[in-house]
Subunit: 255 residues, 2 copies
DNA sequence: TCAAAAGTGTTCGGCGTACACCCATGA
DNA sequence: TCATGGGTGTACGCCGAACACTTTTGA
């Protein structure tokens, strides 16, 4: 799959412009990021030269819109389409590829890319229940954000992920994108757990429920959970239409 | 000045990556944008072929960080340094340069640039009282945002400006960047007027004052206005230090 | 003395926060 | 019957919104 671009279309991608997608998903009460394990072995000794993780990225193709490149990467790496995907920052420092590990990797695998690659960072949000159990890309895995500090990351991808997380936290306060991370039908406590994992806080259940109860666009269904060993919870849906109709421009001048 | 890059250093800039700076300033109770008037005449007939406005932009140089390119453009076009300057969006559509006017301009003036230029948009905020009365660049002028819809704008710069304005409005709700647009010493009603022009609203003076009065980091001086034909107002300063010490992470889950 | 903007206080309602007990289900 | 998480109500305090009259200055 990846060969499609690195081999047969070699020369048709733009050598100095790429996109990087930080893909967030919610499962197991955790916010996770989809990362690719990178491993480089010496051809003779078969000794491991480097092993670390990177986010999903690729160069923009000749004649391709930058935003479309991100859509393409997402589809290639996860099979997902039509999900939340937005730019959050562009990484343009000249030293982003100069670490020894990364140079080694690039010389071996991508000798044609430029020394100074500008990368547009995208943030994608996916419903955790859509995680493919056995992907075409066995080297990609979900990592809880709480594990991030323990991981070795390639290029400037640590910074990329931190900026993406920042973006997510701020955006969530401004727009109803939290639902992009939840299944279509969700319970109030799933939603609460999601907030808690994103912000690293704990919230009072009663107050949370009261607040959600005031929002007309979060609609309870008749349906309940089943198969749970406790009182089954009511399931809710988010209505974008009701949201559009009822949202009021509240402009807190607070900063 | 501009020739420095377009002529003597021709070939040292990256043909497909540029920065565009949307520079906001506050004066005359208005939020203004610094734009450059563009005019192209036919060499024989001297007839005007196109006339419109653009934001301040330039290509990134070989070996230059993207963020440094923005700093350079800002300095070259306004003489200003050390002011608020942040990325807000990257414009990467393949059709951003294809309007007939723009092609005409590029063929004549910048034949060496690529067909597909990705441009990183930056938002700069300057104290309106620092506006140079007679600039080195007579073709640059401040335009109130209320006049924007009447102007002809080059390339995709209408979209660029609208995205910058959006960015400014959201950022102001999250961080104390409003002060970047005000003189060091300001009155409460200047601050109020600034909010009013940015958001296109009107606010109640008493409530506004009360709110500002609660913020420890907006500090009244002994000093008053003078030379005004009415009761002189108290002047205030913003203290970044007090802000850092007293800000509390308020996290409204509201969206 | 006039025009123009500055300064000031109260009331009301809504929303955030703190906090504890009973309920329904599967194992 | 037990463990697990679901569902619910009250009291308090803060802050945002509405609203009108007096004060100071330069012209």
């Amino acid at each position: 799959m990846r060969n499609k671009y690195t081999l047969s279309l070699m020369g048709t991608f733009i050598p100095n412009i790429s996109v990087d997608c930080v893909i967030f998903g919610f499962s197991n009460k955790c916010l996770n990021i989809l990362l690719t394990k990178r491993e480089l072995r010496d051809e003779e000794s078969n000794k491991i030269l480097l092993t670390d993780y990177t986010v999903q990225g690729h160069h923009v193709l000749q004649g391709e819109n930058v935003n479309d490149a991100a859509i393409r990467v997402l589809k290639d790496k996860t099979g997902l389409e039509d999900i939340f995907l937005e730019q959050f920052y562009t990484f343009g420092n000249t030293n982003r590829l100069v670490k020894e590990h990364d140079q080694l990797w690039l010389r071996k695998k991508f000798p044609m890319v430029s020394d100074h690659v500008v990368s547009i960072g995208f943030c994608a949000l996916v419903d955790g229940s859509k995680i493919l159990p056995d992907m075409q890309h066995p080297e990609t895995t979900w990592i809880p954000i709480s594990e991030l500090s323990k991981l070795e990351l390639g290029f400037d991808h640590k910074e990329v992920i931190l900026k993406a997380l920042d973006f997510l936290r701020q955006k969530i306060r401004l727009e109803p994108i939290i639902f992009e991370l939840l299944p279509e039908k969700f319970t109030i406590s799933q939603m609460q757990q999601l907030y808690e994992t994103i912000f690293g806080i704990t919230l009072d259940r009663r107050n949370f429920k009261k607040k959600i109860g005031l929002l007309e666009y979060i609609i309870p269904l008749k349906e309940k959970q089943h198969g749970v060993p406790h009182k089954p919870a009511t399931v809710y849906i988010f209505s974008q239409e009701v949201y559009n109709l009822t949202k009021k421009e509240k402009l807190d001048l607070i900063f």
